[in-house]
């Protein structure tokens, strides 16, 4: 939760502000230099974010699971819709996912798109190519423009828990892809139900990896109520045990009170 405080802009105040900005800029540059490399997610304060990520991946698995037995992919949008049934299913999943992210349980923000994939013919790991706005580029038939990558590139881009999740998800696809190639009668991957099965297994693997990361961090932070359906209250960890891993600002009761007051219209 960012904290901003109003600054006085009197003449001496301006000087203080200038000096503060100067110090902050050099401090920020130093920090940036120090923090080059993948982003972090190993602080206790990252647990909430990782759990949100877990809920999102569970939502996606649940969505694809429905195609295994009863859900039908949406039909083509008019005669010039060149997308395959599988592409329509994937596009629909992404649209539904974004609608969920913009609803109450998604916290009303963020949006989703494909982060990685496995190539059908070669079982190679791939990344989508993005435009200047960070959106995935698409071909005319709706498929993503992709390029082959090494896991190291994903590790450089994401924090370890998320890199593990993505590489495990895609690792499951790669394992399944190679196994399928060895079959006398390989599964027909143009069948959307088979495709949904592959996707469901990928999400299951990624979720298993993420749960492991969350459990390890929760243990480090002394927090038991993370991945399981435990009825334990969230324990309060003494500050001296958290110093080495906790760096974020903790909101004060007054700040929480003010935020709650905005939501309740000031009624207490």
């Amino acid at each position: 939760m960012p904290h901003r405080r109003p600054l006085s802009l009197s003449a001496p105040g301006m000087l203080v502000l200038f000096l503060a900005l100067l110090t902050a800029t050099s401090a920020s540059a130093a920090q940036k230099k120090k923090q080059s490399g993948p982003p972090r997610c190993d602080r206790c304060s990252d647990l909430t974010r990782l759990q949100k990520e877990l809920a999102e991946q569970q939502w996606l698995r649940h969505h694809f699971e429905q195609y295994l037995d009863w859900r039908l992919p949406p039909g083509p949008k008019g005669g010039d819709d060149e997308r395959s049934t599988i592409q329509r299913m994937q596009d629909f999943a992404q649209a539904e996912f974004n609608a969920w992210l913009h609803s109450a349980p998604g916290g009303g923000s963020s949006s989703g798109q494909a982060e990685a994939a496995t190539q059908l013919d070669t079982c190679q790991l791939m990344l989508p190519v993005r435009d200047a706005n960070g959106q995935n580029k698409k071909n005319k038939d709706g498929t993503l423009v992709m390029r082959v990558v090494k896991p190291a590139e994903i590790r450089a881009q994401y924090c370890p828990a998320l890199a593990d999740m993505i590489l495990t998800h895609e690792g499951q696809h790669q394992t399944d892809c190679r196994a399928n190639k060895k079959q006398d009668k390989p599964m027909d991957m143009t069948n959307y139900r088979n495709f949904a099965a592959y996707d469901t297994r990928g999400y299951s693997a990624g979720i298993a990896s993420l749960k492991k990361s969350i459990a390890a961090l929760a243990k480090k932070c002394g927090w038991k109520g993370t991945t399981g359906k435990t009825k334990q209250p969230i324990p309060q960890v003494p500050t001296d045990q958290r110093k080495d891993i906790e760096e974020d600002i903790i909101p004060t009761p007054q700040e929480l009170d003010a935020l709650a007051g905005t939501l309740t219209g000031g009624k207490k």
Binding site: P2, H3, L54, D69, S110, Q113, C123
Partner: protein, 338 residues
């Protein structure tokens, strides 16, 4: 990238979709919300801002608790009335006494989010009065998702019967296998509504007899011949026509009275078929556990209505292969590079 990682136009096999977490400037959203959304403004923009603030409060409460600070009462109060399910469930967990006393726990039983309902169930089981605890016994045994997702009442195509005017869909007592509505009207009045147009309200034994008679109809050779001849006359496939007829006769497949007869709190259930094929049966009874009149529609498995024909041999083989495939072990860490 060059020769090592050439740009490709490729068919992907399974994507990892994930959300880019957006940083929310809570102070700015707070200010905007306070300025433009006071007095319960319900615009889409206000709703989005409210959810962002509620989620920020949830994250803030969790962070402060880990630091050993108890969230202030105002945060709990906002949480108990929250729309964001994570915040509402946390507030129920943190202040169960307050949740019971203020009525927030009972109100949370009607949340569309199973994660909120289950937290309210825990609170009422341990701290609710006898009447409140009895209400919980009507829940069907359903495995709910671990993540917050809003349940929705079945759409008219799946329900296949009109909803009784003014009746409320009860998420807690509904599930994939039944839609449960409640109303303050007397059971006789509800039965009269569903029996309009000469439909019969059956007792359990009468319904079982009627369904048996319908099943006997499936054995009628002359009826079968008539369907074949009609299909041929229309240039249709007679095998498909027979399959469609047999499927329509299958109806619910099981005796719908089993879930209601002799069950605790269910008083004088009556069964009104929605059509001659018994594709749906409305069950009306006084529910002493919930304290109102219940209108329940047992539902077949999702997709059962849309399946038009028997699967082909190839489809059956694919299904078996898929089931075997889904039973294979799953990895839980990245595989070594190959």
């Amino acid at each position: 990238m060059g020769s090592i990682a050439p740009w490709l136009l490729a068919l992907a096999l399974g994507n990892t979709i994930r959300a880019e977490q957006e940083d929310v400037d809570v102070a700015a959203v707070r200010q905007k919300y306070a300025q433009s959304c006071s007095g319960g403004a319900t615009s889409e923009a206000c709703k989005q801002m409210r959810w962002q603030l509620e989620y920020a409060l949830y994250e803030g409460m969790v962070a402060s608790m880990r630091a050993g600070q108890q969230p202030p009462p105002s945060a709990i109060k906002a949480g108990l009335a929250a729309e964001v399910p994570e915040l509402r469930a946390l507030a129920l967990k943190l202040q169960p006494e307050e949740a019971v006393k203020s009525g927030a726990a009972v109100a949370a039983l009607d949340s569309p989010y199973a994660t909120v309902r289950q937290e309210a169930v825990e609170v009422l089981r341990s701290r609710g009065d006898e009447k409140q605890r009895r209400m919980l016994d009507r829940q069907p045994s359903t495995k709910w998702p671990e993540f917050p997702v809003a349940d929705t009442p079945p759409d008219p195509a799946r329900l296949k019967v009109k909803v009784y005017p003014g009746a409320t869909y009860r998420y807690l007592y509904s599930g994939p296998e039944q839609a449960y509505f409640s109303t303050a009207d007397a059971p006789d009045k509800v039965v009269a509504f569903y029996a309009q147009g000469g439909k019969k309200a059956y007792s359990a034994s009468e319904l079982q007899q009627a369904m048996k008679a319908r099943a006997m109809g499936a054995m009628d050779q002359s009826k079968m011949m008539k369907i074949i001849q009609e299909a041929q006359a229309k240039g249709q496939d007679p095998t498909q026509a027979i399959m469609a007829w047999q499927k329509s006769l299958a109806g619910l497949g099981t005796d719908p009275t089993r879930a209601f007869e002799g069950r605790q709190g269910i008083v004088s259930p009556r069964y009104i078929p929605a059509d001659d094929l018994f594709s749906r049966v409305v069950v009306v009874f006084r529910d002493d556990l919930v304290g109102s009149t219940a209108v329940v529609v047992p539902l077949p498995p999702a997709g059962a209505d849309s399946a038009t024909a028997m699967p082909t041999g190839d489809e059956m083989m694919q299904t078996v292969a898929r089931q075997q495939y889904m039973g294979q072990p799953i990895i839980d860490s990245p595989p070594p590079e190959q």
